[in-house]
């Protein structure tokens, strides 16, 4: 069972963030990982870039789920961003991305990582919920949506 609430904090959610491109997005994710979760931003940036070199983590439908495993984490952590303007992400459907859900797991947490990926993927397939995420005007509104009771996600 993956509980999204355990992986998110209010500081890990941003609505309306402006980034120029994928590299700038990853730098922001790294910086927010430090602010929200106290994780080394250099390790996060390296991991995200390394994972992306392997292939795009664009999920389709304007959503990306960058993810990876890094040393030193004790649990799965998440960052959720709604971008002010979509950016190119070389996604599978070529659509630009405006919703980003980053997941990082402990280096030895392979099974947990897969559960978290499954849970977030399932959540992002719910078109009604995704529309609500896109409509969330503030960080608080976005956090409240993600933290709502029905988002206790089994996987």
């Amino acid at each position: 069972m993956f509980y999204l609430q355990n992986s998110l904090t209010p500081l890990a959610v941003r609505a309306g963030l402006t980034v120029a491109n994928k590299k700038s997005l990853f730098q922001n994710l790294a910086s927010l990982s430090k602010q929200a979760h106290g994780v080394d931003p250099h390790a996060v940036l390296d991991r995200l870039m390394e994972r992306e070199r392997l292939g795009s983590t664009g999920f389709g439908s304007g959503i990306a789920i960058p993810h990876g495993k890094i040393e030193g984490l004790t649990k799965v952590i998440a960052i959720c961003l709604r971008l002010a303007r979509p950016i190119d992400f070389e996604a599978i459907d070529d659509l630009p991305v405006d919703l980003v859900f980053m997941l990082l797991s402990p280096a030895d947490g392979g099974a947990e990582h897969l559960k978290a990926l499954a849970a977030v993927s399932r959540m992002m397939r719910d078109k009604e919920f995704v529309a609500k995420l896109r409509g969330a005007a503030t960080d608080d509104a976005l956090y409240a949506l993600l933290n709502s009771q029905e988002m206790v996600t089994a996987a």
Partner: protein
């Protein structure tokens, strides 16, 4: 009660989904059609990214468990180990999946199961 697909039907469904998304699936070892285990060898653009074994959790839900983690960086040893597993367990399927973000694809596929 949830209906559990046979292994062959599960693999066929996985093949259809992967192919529809531009991925490629190759059966390396053909196991038991109905109840064989499954090792999914995940590649991205031909580069090995993970080996996942289909399993069940304490609640009886289907899950993937990472397997051969320590051999991901050593393809020759991994292939040797996979061949040993195949020799020890003739019911085990070994399937190679090459698709963008293969781990997420596999996790997503089983979650929809």
């Amino acid at each position: 009660m949830a209906v559990r697909l046979t292994t062959k039907l599960f693999i066929n469904a996985l093949m259809r989904r992967a192919t529809s998304l531009g991925g490629h699936v190759t059966v390396l070892a053909h196991g038991d059609d109905s109840a064989g285990g499954l090792l999914l060898i995940c590649l991205e653009k031909g580069q090995l990214s993970a080996v996942l074994e289909r399993s069940t959790d304490a609640q009886g839900r289907m899950v993937w468990r990472p397997s051969f983690d320590q051999l991901i960086e050593n393809k020759d040893k991994l292939l040797e180990s996979l061949q040993k597993r195949a020799a020890q367990d003739s019911d085990l399927w070994q399937v190679e999946l090459d698709i963008a973000d293969a781990e997420r694809f596999a996790a997503d596929f089983i979650a929809e199961g």
